[in-house]
């Protein structure tokens, strides 16, 4: 559906070059929920901007390829590159932002903001028909119709976020990108919204990309997970497998550091802090904090390699690619 190959996107400011995404290869497949996990400043929101084709100065695509395949109404496949994807926003690819107060226009009623997004993209021109369709869709998602007539400030945070989910999925886009969709929401509402997202994806059988710093969220609803560290993807694979047996030391330590209710095991965080994106080290970005560090780690960045079926990791501890192992066998 959407493929990034060795993409580099930097913020070119007068002061410095921030290498927010520095060589990322990733593909979003059809009918899946893909999670992108990482800590603040690891480049995950920049990655989202690349996926959504919304690069604006000072952010610039420096290297790599971005390709999208869009199925048209007549059943043909259309190939899209950077600068073209944006022409199909909302119909082919849509975006669900963090549900803060500030993403909806405070002085315009919700229905009008719905209409904004479809008037240009949708064939429907009859106003009453559109209203009917929107009302039906909200009904499907178990949202009260009254929200259409409300101003954003009249809705609670959870309700606003559900409206945003409805807004982003109304046109049945083939790809939906969700940017920290439940951050700043209470856990009960978070659960409700994540389940709603999963349910919508199940019905539409499209691709949903969820970006979140909370790896518990990824465990609960994603099918595959990509873990980012310092501008790079360090591990990517089926969610269940990655959580059961994380391969990259960062992923291992991160997952092991989280405490659980009812579990009295002593947990430790990872010491040190990530290197700066302005001046990243030559070798593996995690080398300075890694307990298994080797000489080679400081010399060159390990590339992302398939080490088990559908599991990719960028670490010298897992240097033998799947292909080579198969050959030996």
């Amino acid at each position: 559906m959407l493929r990034l190959s060795d993409v580099k996107a930097y913020y070119l400011t007068r002061r410095a070059i921030v290498k927010a995404v520095d060589g990322v290869t990733l593909d979003v497949r059809g009918n899946e929920i893909l999670g992108v996990a990482g800590e603040s400043g690891c480049g995950k929101s920049t990655l989202l901007k690349i996926l959504y084709d919304s690069l604006e100065p000072p952010l610039k695509l420096v290297a790599g390829k971005v390709e999208a395949e869009m199925k048209t109404v007549s059943g043909k496949t259309l190939k899209l590159g950077p600068g073209q994807i944006r022409h199909h926003w909302w119909r082919f690819i849509s975006y669900i932002p963090q549900g803060s107060m500030s993403v909806l226009n405070p002085v315009v009623r919700v229905e009008k903001q719905f209409l904004d997004s479809i008037s240009r993209r949708h064939r429907l021109t009859n106003k009453r028909e559109i209203h009917e369709r929107i009302a039906n869709y909200l009904n499907e998602l178990e949202l009260p119709i009254e929200v259409l007539n409300s101003y954003p400030h009249q809705l609670s945070g959870g309700m606003r976020q559900r409206v945003l989910v409805a807004l982003g999925t109304f046109l049945h886009p083939q790809i939906v990108l969700a940017d920290e969709p439940t951050t700043a929401l209470d856990v009960v509402i978070q659960k409700g919204i994540l389940l709603m997202l999963a349910q919508v994806q199940e019905q539409m059988k499209n691709s949903l990309v969820i970006v979140s710093h909370d790896i518990g969220v990824h465990y609960q609803i994603t099918h595959r997970i990509a873990i980012m560290y310092n501008g790079k993807i360090v591990e990517i694979g089926p969610t269940e497998m990655v959580f059961k047996k994380p391969l990259h030391p960062y992923a291992q330590m991160l997952i092991q550091s989280l405490p659980h209710v009812g579990d009295d095991k002593h947990r430790v965080g990872i010491s040190g802090r990530p290197p700066s994106l302005i001046d990243p080290p030559l070798g593996c970005r995690f080398a300075a904090r890694c307990p298994f560090v080797m000489d080679v780690c400081h010399k060159e960045m390990p590339s992302l390699m398939e080490v088990e079926p559908d599991r990719f990791v960028a670490c010298y501890l897992h240097r033998e690619p799947l292909q080579a192992r198969k050959n030996v066998e």
Binding site: W90, Y95, P97, S102, P106, V107, K112, D116, R120, R121
Partner: protein, 311 residues
């Protein structure tokens, strides 16, 4: 805001002595009793008898409830009210049209410049506004007079309206004569609206809901109108309420310089003729009018902003 009515209290006192001083300095010698008699007459006329509280009470009784400021001394016995009644419509007409034109045009240009603040045309517009904004109204008025009355005599030197009231000729000549004073107020306040609207809309263009609208695929004009402008215009309404006093200040001087028959010229006449009642009347009315306008805008504000509800 309504405490404006207390303003007359701020007056540093004794206009009577001042008036007497003027009479005496004009050369005529007077006997003390005459002076005393004149003093008390003046006191009565000015409503300055009794203690401060009584004065205040009397003034309020006369001005607020009776709606009267007494007779004018310069145009004796025409009441001050009649004079004000004649000139106030002129000022309101001038102020209303020019403020409205400046506000609307300034805001439109401002939003344009703010929404696309990186474009060259918006930088040129902003530069233009920066040069215009700090120039006070009366300087603009002088420049306009120099340009269009003396160097390039399109408009008459003094205000000159012809024809019977409300005939076509009257209206057209009134409008023609008002062009320059209006222009000085429009140009004078225009820069401020452009600059403040530009700053506001540039800020709003960075808001999440604007970028989200762009992500939704909403077109440029719709974003500018429904998203940027709709949000930026709200604070501009409040700012209008706050600035109406300053615009009124400018209009007063512009009127005097152009000889426009409004409140400003009346104030000036009162000052020149030392007509205390007229002065009090015009100034009180001016302040009350401005305060009322500001209050009205403040009260109307919730109708524009859906976020404010009176429950």
């Amino acid at each position: 805001m309504t405490v404006i009515f207390f303003v007359p209290r701020f007056l540093p006192s004794d206009p009577v002595t001042a008036a007497l001083g003027r009479v005496m300095s004009s050369g005529s010698a007077m006997r003390p009793e005459e002076v005393q008699a004149m003093r008390s007459t003046l006191m009565q006329l000015y409503g300055l008898e009794g203690t401060l509280g009584e004065q205040y009470f009397n003034f309020m009784k006369r001005a607020v409830f009776g709606g009267s400021f007494g007779p004018s001394l310069a145009f004796y016995p025409t009441p001050v009210n009649a004079l004000i009644g004649k000139s106030l419509p002129w000022t309101i007409f001038l102020l209303l049209t020019s403020t409205l034109i400046a506000w609307v045009v300034g805001n439109l240009i401002g939003v344009l410049a703010g929404y696309q603040s990186r474009r060259i045309y918006s930088k040129i517009l902003e530069g233009f506004a920066i040069l215009l904004y700090p120039i006070p109204y009366y300087i603009l008025a002088l420049i306009l007079i120099i340009l269009f009355v003396y160097i390039n005599p399109i408009f008459p030197v003094s205000f000159n309206v012809q024809g019977a009231p409300f005939s076509l000729e009257f209206i057209s000549s009134a409008v023609f004569n008002s062009v320059l004073p209006a222009l000085s107020i429009i140009i004078g306040s225009f820069g401020w609206w452009v600059l403040s609207m530009k700053a506001l809309s540039a800020g709003i263009a960075e808001e999440d809901y604007v970028s989200f609208a762009r992500f939704k695929g909403v077109g440029g004009p719709a974003i500018m109108g429904r998203y940027v402008m709709r949000n930026a215009i709200l604070p501009q309404i409040t700012v209008l309420a706050l600035n109406i006093g300053a615009i009124f200040n400018g209009a007063l001087i512009a009127e005097i310089l152009f000889g426009y028959p409004g409140l400003g010229t009346l104030v000036y006449t009162a000052v020149v003729q030392s007509d205390y009642n007229l002065l009090m009347g015009t100034i009180s009315i001016g302040i009350i009018a401005v305060a009322t306008a500001a209050l009205a805008i403040d009260l109307l504000y919730p109708f524009f902003d859906p976020r404010i509800q009176y429950r």
